[in-house]
């Protein structure tokens, strides 16, 4: 693992250039220009006049809320979709990529958010998937492994064996393999769709080091992220999309005020605001009491309590055991030792049903795979945990369910409002509202939130924070897990810091600051000192 | 809470009791005890000097495919029963398993045990030809039943039914009946068994050839799968396609149970039907003469009984006492006989 310091250390790059610079790369030259690009799908105008200009050697950030058209735009560039009208100019020539292979051959590589790796192939096979070095029809495995090792070494991850199955790698490792695949194509433009979403904090540092070295070689990067601080740190210029249109192009990434960017994305001016903390938080009766909870290999001897009306935040890195802890409290995993009590009564271990009956609700980390029935209507997702309550003799009452879901949709300002739509048509933020809203219907007294704002855009975030605080004001206890330290600090009343499966600190949120927490979560990791 | 859990446990107890009771009842229900099928055996004829006089002890090894059909089941039953009728026969069966490969493996075990004679009904004559050769080379005479070995060196004796002859016999009966009724352009239906089998094709060919000689032809042909339910469905289709029928040949009496059910369910009576193979139930129906089934052409599993008798003679080095030859012949093809109301009583004991 490398560090920010290492990234800044010029000696580090002395091991050799990351990639061979394309011989004819001219830094600053415009490699990609999109003019008035339009793409419609039946019933949807996904791109409605996009302008974009990307120069060699820059990190061009693409900003926009979920549904603004970023994904479609990426797919147009990657050759998955063909635009209906408008100009795509690639290195000065009008271009149209008939398929992803054509885009790759032209030098455009895409690293998708859901990494498109074949889990049961090796690292090398993934890196060279579709263009394996071969002779007479036989794959030259030796050469493939050697070149993969070379590329991985340049990416600062020489420790990943090219023969390892991708399945066995952690998320960060998989991303490195995706990147190796891009480099194996001698890409001139690499598109990264929320690359930091799957990474822990220190791994983001390494990602940025790699991006800097790529751009130094004249490679252009289109970088998509929701995290403003990342855009500030790595970006050169910013293009903002809203409703399929470019609303601002080529803003300086470091100097444009956040307020302006948000305004361009949303048409509103919202700050990244947390609701006020009421003075009397943390004075309610204790709802949840966890004592000595242990799951070997994940976390050990965790004790904590949550009071009615209190928001407790757990800060910790990915892999610190925080998500596992939350799932164990919820009964989705069975503890090896320790007790969980709700309102004084011990819960049957390993039973989600018991936890739900005791008044717990959970919004899991992976919304799509763990919480939603994407093809089902919104109202059925809202009532997923409670439809039995509206049933008589086992017969469901769709009218009542819709009415209840409508009520929730109103109170959460769900958009679009029609609860009969399939939930997959919603943006990430609105999907998260559906998941949270599900637990507003029952007698939920304790809400467990795992990364509630992952993939949620700025505007919807503020709304979610507001919802969570209002819930607490109504006496619901909230146990929140987040990788984003400012979120934990801003939203929670009390903060628990978790590191390597253990609680290392507990304090009221007001007594901690970001640097202190970062120090705590990372102490003992390979990080030397806290990041800026 | 406690009240609730006590209710729950009582409910569980009750449910458990009910489940146990139902289970016991069901297990009781697997019984099929009825008078065991009177196997088609030849009573050991005690007259001195006859073939059945006890002689040298003979060990007969037997192998037939796992039965999924009444006919095959009858083959094994008959062989066992016939062997039991001889005091000088030691009978050893090996499970032939589900396919030719399994039977091959079973046979090599059998050969290693060195019986005096092997009687087998191969899954497939071509695939088990080599196993026959192996046994013969080891000095064990092989009696092959029903499914011919292509290689004459692979068997000492081959006993076969006559598939083509079945079709001929069925057609002859139908032609004679129709001619007697004076029907000149009859509508004839056919319900064969599994259509991809060679034996089905031979039966159908015999049927079609003989009909053609009389100037008749098959109007519609809906194959079944030798099972009653498939017979019922095939027959339903056939009856629906032909609003008026004069005669039907159903290849197999087991599937014929379903065919007759379909006929009864549609209430059709205007035609007569000929069966095939010769099951006991078919013969009883013919005798009772209260269904459309008026005749059946045999393909009798009694061949297994004969095979055991002849295997014993081979083992003892005897010939068939009614023949001049001192040894058992090399090949026997059983004629397909036509059973009608008139002669059903004499065949009834051969029904399976």
């Amino acid at each position: 693992m490398t560090t920010h310091e290492a990234a800044a250390d010029p000696a580090h790059t002395a091991t050799g250039p990351l990639v061979e610079a394309p011989a004819d790369a001219v830094p600053g030259e415009v490699v990609l220009r999109l003019t008035d690009v339009v793409k419609t799908f039946p019933g949807v105008r996904a791109l409605d006049g996009v302008q974009l200009e990307v120069r060699a050697g820059e990190v061009h950030c693409l900003l926009g809320q979920n549904g603004a058209g970023k994904s479609t735009l990426i797919k147009v560039l990657a050759g998955v979709h063909r635009p209906d009208s408008g100009q795509v100019e690639w290195r000065g020539q009008p271009a149209e990529f008939a398929n992803p292979q054509a885009a790759m051959r032209a030098g455009i590589a895409t690293i998708y958010q859901e990494l498109d790796l074949v889990e049961d192939l090796s690292v090398a096979e993934n890196a060279f998937l579709g263009h394996e070095p071969r002779r007479a029809g036989f794959v030259r495995r030796g050469q493939m492994a050697r070149r993969t090792r070379q590329i991985l070494g340049r990416l600062g991850h020489g420790e990943i064996p090219p023969g390892r199955m991708v399945r066995a790698l952690p998320a960060a490792g998989k991303q490195i393999v995706s990147m190796a695949r891009a480099l194996s194509h001698e890409a001139r433009l690499i598109i990264m769709d929320e690359p930091s979403a799957v990474l822990a904090h220190d791994e983001v540092g390494n990602l940025f080091r790699i991006i800097r070295e790529l751009t130094a070689q004249g490679i252009a990067v289109i970088y998509i992220s929701h995290r403003m601080e990342e855009i500030r740190e790595i970006g050169d210029r910013v293009t903002v999309l809203k409703d399929g249109r470019t609303t601002a192009a080529n803003l300086p990434a470091r100097d444009t005020p956040t307020r302006d960017l948000v305004a361009r994305m949303t048409g509103r001016t919202i700050e990244y605001v947390f609701p006020d903390r009421p003075a009397d938080s943390g004075t309610g009766a204790e709802l949840l009491r966890v004592d000595g909870l242990t799951r070997s290999g994940e976390f050990a001897d965790v004790s904590l309590g949550v009071r009615a009306g209190e928001i407790v935040g757990i800060a910790g890195l990915v892999g610190s055991g925080r998500s596992e802890l939350l799932e164990t409290i919820y009964g989705a995993r069975r503890a090896h030792a320790g007790t969980i009590r709700m309102g004084g009564h011990a819960l049957r271990p390993g039973s989600v049903g018991a936890a739900v009956r005791a008044g717990m609700g959970m919004a899991p980390e992976e919304r799509k795979s763990q919480a939603l029935l994407l093809g089902e209507p919104i109202y059925r997702n809202v009532t997923l945990a409670t439809f039995g309550r509206y049933a008589r003799l086992g017969f469901t009452d769709a009218g009542r369910e819709r009415a209840e879901a409508d009520r929730i949709a109103d109170s959460l300002e769900l958009r679009p409002r029609d609860v009969r739509r399939p939930v997959r048509t919603l943006s990430g933020g609105n999907q998260q509202k559906v998941v949270v809203g599900r637990w507003l219907l029952g007698d939920t007294r304790l809400l467990l939130l795992d990364e509630p704002t992952r993939g949620v855009d700025v505007g919807a975030r503020a709304e979610l924070y507001q919802v969570i605080r209002e819930l607490a004001a109504r006496g619901v206890g909230v146990l929140l897990v987040s990788s984003e330290v400012p979120e934990v600090l801003g939203l929670a009343d009390r903060v628990l810091v978790m590191r390597e499966g253990r609680m290392v600190r507990e304090a009221p949120a007001g007594e901690l600051d970001e640097n202190t927490v970062l120090d705590l979560v990372m102490a003992g990791s390979l990080m030397e000192g806290a990041p800026a | 809470m406690t009240q609730h859990s006590r209710d729950l446990s009582r409910r569980r107890l009750l449910f458990g009791g009910a489940a146990l009771g139902a289970g016991a009842l069901l297990v009781g229900c697997t019984s099929n005890e009825a008078a065991p099928t009177a196997a088609q055996t030849k009573a050991a004829d005690t007259a001195a000097g006859g073939n059945s006089t006890p002689g040298k002890k003979v060990t007969i090894g037997f192998s037939a495919p796992a039965a999924d059909h009444g006919w095959l089941a009858a083959i094994t039953t008959n062989a066992k029963a016939q062997a039991a009728a001889y005091s000088d026969v030691d009978f050893k069966t090996v499970e032939a398993g589900a396919d030719a490969a399994a039977q091959r493996a079973a046979l090599s075990t059998l050969i290693a045990q060195k019986p005096d004679v092997i009687v087998m009904l191969p899954h497939d004559g071509k695939e088990l030809n080599a196993a026959g050769l192996e046994a013969m080379k080891a000095g064990i005479p092989v009696v092959n039943l029903d499914r011919a070995f292509p290689d004459a060196l692979a068997y000492r004796l081959q006993i076969m039914g006559d598939n083509y002859g079945m079709g001929v016999a069925a057609a002859n009966y139908i032609v004679a009946q129709l001619k007697a009724k004076g029907v000149s352009t009859p509508v004839i239906g056919e319900i064969p068994g599994i259509d991809s089998l060679e034996l089905t094709q031979q039966r159908s060919k015999g049927f079609a050839d003989t009909l053609a000689a009389a100037g008749f032809k098959v109007a519609n042909r809906r194959p079944a799968e030798f099972t009653a339910d498939s017979g019922q469905q095939a027959a339903t289709g056939l009856l629906q396609a032909l609003p008026k029928i004069d005669a039907v040949w159903n290849h197999d009496d087991d599937q014929g149970i379903g065919v007759l059910a379909a006929v009864n369910q549609t209430g059709r009576k205007e035609f007569f039907m000929v069966g095939g193979a010769g099951s006991k139930k078919a013969m009883e129906d013919i005798q009772a003469d209260n269904t459309v089934l008026k005749a059946t052409v045999t393909y009798s599993p009694s061949m297994a009984s004969s095979a055991i008798s002849l295997a014993r003679l081979i083992g003892q080095g005897k010939g068939m006492s009614d023949l001049v030859e001192l040894q058992v012949p090399k090949e026997i093809v059983l004629a397909s006989e036509t059973i009608t109301k008139e002669n059903a009583s004499s065949y009834l004991k051969l029904g399976f």
């Binding site: 799908f41 058209g69 919820y330 899991p364 939603l372 | 095959l72 099972t227 469905q233």
Partner: protein, 377 residues
């Protein structure tokens, strides 16, 4: 044929709200001006995206296929189709032919929607059929036979469910094993013989008609209706969709996924028990080899009826139409005296075509919408 939407504005049918009147200029104007890419929030759903609208549309397609098959029948056998009593009789014949597989398919549809598969249905039908026709069972009369068939079917299904949900076996493996084992047990019990049913009441199920319609068709209708209500109007149905659509989400919402999975297989087994009685009645007998390959017929019917093999989506009506299409094909080939080889090829072709059409028209299309629809207003 496909819908009641008037054709006054045929150029933009997809933008019409349901039940809109063609003469209402206000509505027409609003629709005309409304953005074609409608960035959401209007609250009005296009008719093909409403509750079950997609399923309705697919079912109309299946009815279209059925009509084509019947037209082919009329064209090839005008002599038979000219006789109206024959035609009525033929419809009943097709439905009777569909009845047994239809009942099995209802159970199969539940299992598949619930994210599983049941390869053992044919074997369960055979086992239940054989068990209920043993001489010992027959001595208890028709009631005993029906009870036995239902309980045996349900118990075997229960074992399937326990193996899948608590034994953690892949459904394919668990039910494949059961398929082999149940046929083996059936052969064991029957002594490999065809067991004839002598019970007039049981045999009468296949030959009785009420108001000119066979009892078998009533049974099919009752099972289909019960299945429809169970899937669409009860908590059991909702759990089935949730468990199949996203088992993890269902579990984390407090649904007992494992128990529900057990119940689904037991339900499938129960349907097999019902089918066993029907098939035994039709054939007036049972044997270990009966209901051969019904599992494939049932799966194929469910799939062409629009049930997603990966679970989470499917309709009972679609499955029923799938079964009826297959039995209509069988009937079509029978009345034309064509070989079953050709019939099987056509069946295979229809399965592929149905799935291709669905993938092309519905699945990828809705995914498009899901990925690209502009949702934030």
């Amino acid at each position: 044929m496909s819908d009641s939407t008037p054709t006054a504005t045929p150029d933009r049918p997809e933008a019409l709200p349901p039940q809109s009147s063609p003469v209402d200029p206000a509505v027409a104007g609003a629709v005309g001006k409304g953005p074609a890419h409608g960035s959401g929030g209007t609250g009005q759903l296009s008719w093909w995206r409403g509750d079950g609208g997609e399923g309705t549309r697919r079912n109309l397609g299946l009815i279209g296929v059925l009509v084509v098959l019947i037209l082919i029948g009329i064209a090839t056998r005008p002599d038979l189709y000219g006789d109206s009593s024959w035609v009525w009789n033929n419809i009943l014949t097709i439905l009777k032919l569909a009845s047994v597989v239809g009942v099995v398919t209802v159970g199969m549809t539940f299992v598949i929607i619930g994210g599983g598969i049941d390869l053992s249905v044919g074997a369960i039908v055979a086992l239940a059929g054989v068990w209920c026709t043993t001489l010992a069972t027959q001595s208890y009369g028709a009631g005993g036979m029906i009870f036995t068939a239902l309980v045996v079917g349900m118990c075997v299904g229960l074992v399937n469910g326990l193996l899948v949900s608590y034994g953690k076996l892949v459904p394919f493996i668990a039910t494949l094993a059961m398929m082999v084992a149940a046929r083996g047990l059936a052969a064991q019990i029957s002594g490999k013989q065809t067991q004839v049913s002598d019970n007039a009441a049981i045999n009468g199920i296949a030959s009785t008609s009420l108001l000119g319609i066979p009892l078998l068709v009533y049974i099919l209708a009752a099972v289909v209706a019960a299945g429809w209500v169970l899937l669409n109007r009860t908590t059991f149905g909702r759990r089935t969709v949730a468990v199949g659509g996203n088992p993890e989400a269902a579990r984390l919402a407090g649904i007992n996924v494992r128990r529900h999975t057990v119940l689904l297989y037991a339900l499938s087994g129960l349907c097999c028990g019902i089918a066993a009685i029907m098939l035994t009645a039709q054939a007036t007998s049972a044997q270990a080899a009966m209901a051969n390959l019904y599992e494939l017929d049932a799966i194929a019917a469910a799939i062409i009826g629009g049930t997603l093999l990966s679970g989470g989506r499917g309709t009972i009506v679609g499955s029923l139409l799938g079964v009826i299409i297959f039995s209509t094909i069988t009937n079509l080939f029978a009345i034309n005296g064509l070989s079953t080889e050709a019939q099987n090829m056509v069946k295979g072709g229809i399965i592929v075509a149905a799935v291709l059409v669905q993938q092309f028209q519905f699945r990828s299309f809705t995914q498009f919408l899901g990925r690209n629809r502009l949702t934030t207003g």
